[in-house]
């Protein structure tokens, strides 16, 4: 067999193109297209009273101005209807979605009110600047406290601002508390951040009036679904619409939401005008009109015994979903389920309220509710350890689900509507590896000696479990061309994850061809029409397995055809380096390219190779050229649809030092142990972990969305939204555990979000350890740490119990 590529740290095949500027992102397309720009609401909450476009009309190069009324007057399609509620849920009792252009009311700063189309973007902006919108300003709801108090409303007809309320209970929590020797209560807060891909959204539409067809390019995480949405909104048959995700410069969740207003409006305007139209989001627009995530308040009560075993857990939390709920309540559902991590509380009750505020919508951002859940649970673990004076790793280990208990049923419903059942994982082994990687005991001893010398150093630890590879399905088409080259198409999209390499590795292995001979296409509905999308660390699991299945069917067919040609039993054949040969007697062989030729009986020869398949060249005339149960071509399509998610897990440890005076926070070490099953490509997995940790460092120490009381986002630029630079990211030490998933033939689990999940938790744990007082809110800045120190000194912030013990020992 050809040497196996699965598991090899193969260099990413897409990178040469990307780093030399030859990758085509959305804005690299459509140079002659008209440009769209938007007038967006400057108010967080207002009625749109009047739109006066007169002053814009004499801007040279202006092509069209559209308001909601124009959408309503559109004879065809449903562009004027509210945008779809993508994921309905029974607990989402008051769903609200916006309109492509504001109808009568705007509910956050940045909501699109008027669309301008012009010869180029500058002209479009000039015209937009001259449009006067008169607003009747309404009081905004900003922040969870304000939403909860319900003194003001985001939506008139939602008096308590509650979009959704969901309660899940496993076991009898009340009884479990009654039987708990000890209890603790915690209030925990996490602020907003955002996916913030370096490439914002973008849409480019080409309407072919003669053909009645639409081609849409979108910087999306789901081209099949954008296609379906555009077809529905524009009242076009699905087969007259194509959607292509070109190279996408990051998504991290925000681009799974669809259709964005612009994804409806740009194709609609292209058809209205009979011209190509393009819109490329700029950074300011991305801040105020895309999506954010993470803002939640949590109140937790926990019951435990003297050994630190979790007997009862009661979690209530309030989720800020922003102005609308197009993506349903996926984020809080994930928090409520994935909060459990690797642990098995005796009884668990979780209840959340998803609240409207006059801010940008909230939809999944890498980690998607898990960072909050992990933060909550890991704060609990640290609190228990501190209360009992136990080692923090030890307390965690005592609460782990053991490998023998797998598959482990939590008796809850997960984000895919299916039971929350962990399929695999060996949590004690993961922890053991992490302890070894960081040298847990030595590190604790080292830190103790540093502290004795006056330095403020702390160690943090956090564990998580991540449901990855959720359904419903993905598919793939694999074809061996007569050149011997293999083309793989899968419907989900790529935003930099290295799919062109890892998917090629899988196909190459299955087919016995060289990596260079495989070309992968993703996210192009012309090539593959059925798909869900790239989110929830699902691409490798879903498409990876679908590609393996499709490639296997191609292999089977290749062996059958080759068997006929070589007069050998297909079972005796193997494919090595693109050649089918008889095992043990390699001289009897036929190149895969020739097999591809033979697979397609021809009447006409168009080149030398194809002659072999023409009607007078093929020998056997006893049956039909294409057998009854067969199809022409050496190709296959197959799908992978799992019964449920597969659960990856990981544990991070960090050593931080805080400056006793300036309160600056420095990362001394960052260690990751990660288990996503067998690694297709360690280089890519580690890249994913690096990127995730980088975003996690951002979320824990730098980034936040700073809204003022009027709902103005004060830091809507890269100057004031502090995405970390490379200089802020520590060196990351990684080790892997590879426990197979029993759910899919490759045994793999997702890795895309892993790095980011435990960041808030692990940094809170370490900073708390360094400072000796309790940390309950993240992210944390030096200014806030300084403030906490003062409040701690004033007795307003409690010390850690171990700090009190240390002080006593010193006496």
């Amino acid at each position: 067999m050809t040497s196996r590529l699965f598991g090899e740290p193969v260099q990413r095949v897409e990178d040469a193109q990307l780093v030399t500027g030859r990758g085509h992102y959305l804005d690299d397309l459509g140079h002659d297209a008209l440009a769209a720009a938007f007038v967006r609401s400057p108010h967080a909450h207002a009625r749109v009273l009047d739109i006066d476009v007169t002053a814009a009309l004499d801007v040279e190069g202006l092509v069209a101005i559209y308001t909601y009324d124009d959408l309503a007057a559109s004879p065809r399609g449903t562009v004027a209807e509210a945008l779809p509620l993508l994921i309905p849920h029974p607990a989402l009792h008051a769903p609200r979605t916006g309109y492509a252009l504001a109808r009568e009311e705007v509910n956050h700063v940045g909501e699109a009110v008027v669309m301008v189309v012009a010869s180029d973007r500058y002209v479009a902006e000039d015209a937009a600047e001259r449009i006067v919108v008169t607003y009747g300003v309404l009081p905004p709801v900003v922040g969870i406290e304000a939403a909860r108090s319900a003194e003001r409303r985001t939506h008139d007809d939602v008096p308590d601002n509650v979009a959704a309320h969901l309660l899940q209970e496993v076991g009898d929590v009340q009884a479990a508390f009654a039987g708990s020797p000890r209890t603790l209560e915690l209030d925990l807060a996490i602020q907003r951040s955002a996916s913030m891909p370096l490439e914002g959204k973008g849409v480019y539409a080409r309407w072919d009036a003669e053909d009645g067809s639409m081609r849409v390019y979108s910087s999306t995480q789901t081209s099949t679904s954008v296609r379906a949405a555009v077809a529905a909104k524009l009242d076009l048959p699905l087969n007259k619409v194509d959607c292509i995700a070109p190279m996408v410069g990051g998504g991290f969740g925000v681009k799974i939401v669809h259709p964005w207003p612009e994804e409806v409006l740009v194709p609609w305007a292209a058809r209205e005008l009979g011209r190509e139209v393009k819109w490329v989001e700029d950074r300011r627009e991305h801040f105020v009109s895309s999506a954010h995530e993470r803002g939640q308040l949590h109140t937790i009560k926990v019951g435990f015994d003297d050994d630190g075993r979790l007997l009862a857990l009661d979690v209530r939390f309030w989720h800020d979903n922003g102005a609308y709920t197009p993506y349903g309540i996926i984020v809080p559902i994930i928090t409520s389920t994935q909060l459990l991590g690797p642990y098995k509380p005796g009884a668990y009750r979780v209840e959340f309220w998803s609240l409207y505020t006059n801010t940008v919508i909230v939809t999944p951002y890498r980690g998607a509710g898990r960072p909050q859940g992990c933060f909550a649970m890991e704060r609990v673990m640290d609190a228990i350890a501190d209360a009992l004076g136990l080692d923090r790793a030890e307390v965690r280990e005592r609460n782990f689900i053991t490998p023998e208990e797998m598959p482990y049923d939590h008796h809850m419903t997960f984000q895919d509507g299916r039971p929350l059942i962990y399929d695999s994982g060996d949590f004690p082994a993961t922890l053991a590896k992490l302890r070894t990687l960081i040298g847990w005991d030595d590190t604790l001893a080292q830190v103790a000696s540093w502290r004795a010398a006056g330095r403020r150093v702390g160690v943090g630890l956090a564990c998580y479990v991540e449901g990855t590879g959720v359904g419903p399905y993905e598919g793939a088409h694999v074809v061996v061309e007569t050149s011997g080259k293999v083309k793989v198409a899968t419907g989900l999209t790529t935003q930099g994850q290295g799919h062109f390499t890892s998917f090629a590795q899988i196909a190459a292995d299955e087919l016995g061809v060289a990596l260079e001979d495989v070309e992968v296409v993703t996210g192009d509905t012309r090539r593959f029409g059925y798909a869900v999308g790239t989110f929830a660390s699902r691409a490798a699991v879903m498409s990876g397995n679908a590609i393996a299945f499709a490639a296997r069917s191609v292999r089977e067919k290749a062996l059958r055809i080759a068997g006929d040609a070589l007069e050998a039993d297909p079972g005796d054949l193997e494919i090595v380096d693109g050649v089918v040969r008889v095992k043990g007697s390699p001289a009897a062989s036929i190149p895969l390219a020739t097999v591809a030729v033979l697979s397609n009986p021809l009447r006409y020869a168009f080149d030398e190779a194809s002659k072999a398949a023409t009607q007078f060249a093929v020998g056997d005339t006893s049956g039909p050229p294409v057998r009854e149960d067969d199809e022409p071509g050496l190709e296959g399509t197959d799908y992978y649809s799992p019964v449920g998610a597969t659960f990856a897990n990981g544990m991070h440890a960090v050593v931080v030092e805080t400056d006793p005076e300036t309160a600056e926070i420095k990362v001394l070490r960052y260690c990751v142990v990660h288990d996503c099953g067998p690694l297709i490509n360690p280089l890519i997995v580690e890249g994913q972990v690096h990127g995730g940790v980088a975003q996690g460092v951002g979320g824990a120490l730098y980034e936040r969305m700073e809204y003022d009381e009027n709902g103005q986002l004060l830091n809507a630029s890269f100057m004031d939204f502090l995405m970390p630079y490379a200089s802020e990211i520590p060196h990351i030490e990684i080790d892997h555990l590879e426990t197979r998933s029993p759910l899919n033939p490759l045994g793999i689990k997702g890795a895309g979000e892993a790095g980011v999940i435990p960041s808030a938790a692990v940094f809170a744990s370490a900073i708390e350890d360094a400072e000796g007082f309790v940390i309950t809110a993240m992210p944390i800045s030096p200014s806030e740490l300084f403030d906490l120190r003062r409040r701690h000194a004033a007795g307003e912030v409690p010390s850690l119990r171990r700090e009190d013990r240390r002080t006593e020992e010193m006496r």
Partner: protein, 302 residues
Amino acid sequence: MGKRDFPTRMRQDHRVKPSPFGYAAPATVEEALAVLAQVGDDAKVLAGGQSLLPILNMRLAAPAHLVDVNRLRELAYVRAEEGGVRVGALARHVDVERSVPAYDALPLLRQALQLVAHPVIRNRGTTVGSLAHADPSGEMTAVLALTGGSVVAARRGSTRTVAAADFFLGPLESALEPGELAVSAFFPSFPARTGTTFLEVARRHGDYAVCGLAAAVTLAADGTVTAARASYISVGGTPVVIDFTELLAGSAPDESGWHAAGELARQQVEPEADIHASADYRRHLVGVLTRRALGEAAGRAA
């Protein structure tokens, strides 16, 4: 970073591409001054563009004309002169940072410039431009103020020299008038046995500082302090200079002195809060960084 009124002004508008403008790229200073004389009332000088272009792109400013000075090679110099360093308007930050004669004459220039943004921005941004921009978080404003330097401003037919103390009028507001071109800045050297440093706390590497200062300590031959001064960024609308000479002159260069200076500085500054830091934290940093900076500067003076 630093205190800015961008957000509230953004409220008016969300445009992110510049408004139309006229553009001139004169080849000589004389030509530049002629153009400025013509359109100067509604023109902006374009130097490295590192501060101006974002402002134009966000339409926070919409000048009718840009006068691009990037072809004025005659202003692309860094010279050690009698008593200090003269920096031409087209000297990039990196030119000043790397200049050995400038470093020999005034090490503080390099010490400060290493904290200005990132290398790619220093490759393009000009030192004189950052003075003209008058951002109270800009390191070079503090250097000009501490050294008691000056800026030479020219208009067609006349030239004037503006002392640092008169140059910074408020946040993003310098004494340059419409139609004027800053042609150079002069940074005087310190007396012998002076040590300097620039310290700051920034949220991310290369960011505008939450608080920072340039400090200079001069010691007498017997090792006692003869002069100590510091100039602060991000704690006021213009660089804030505090003179500790009265407090420290004649005393030994030791922790207690630096500590007292830190206390004095803490009491004197009137910082404001912004989204990155509270006023209290900034005030606290003034104390801490003053102590550290004076100690470090004195160490270099010895």
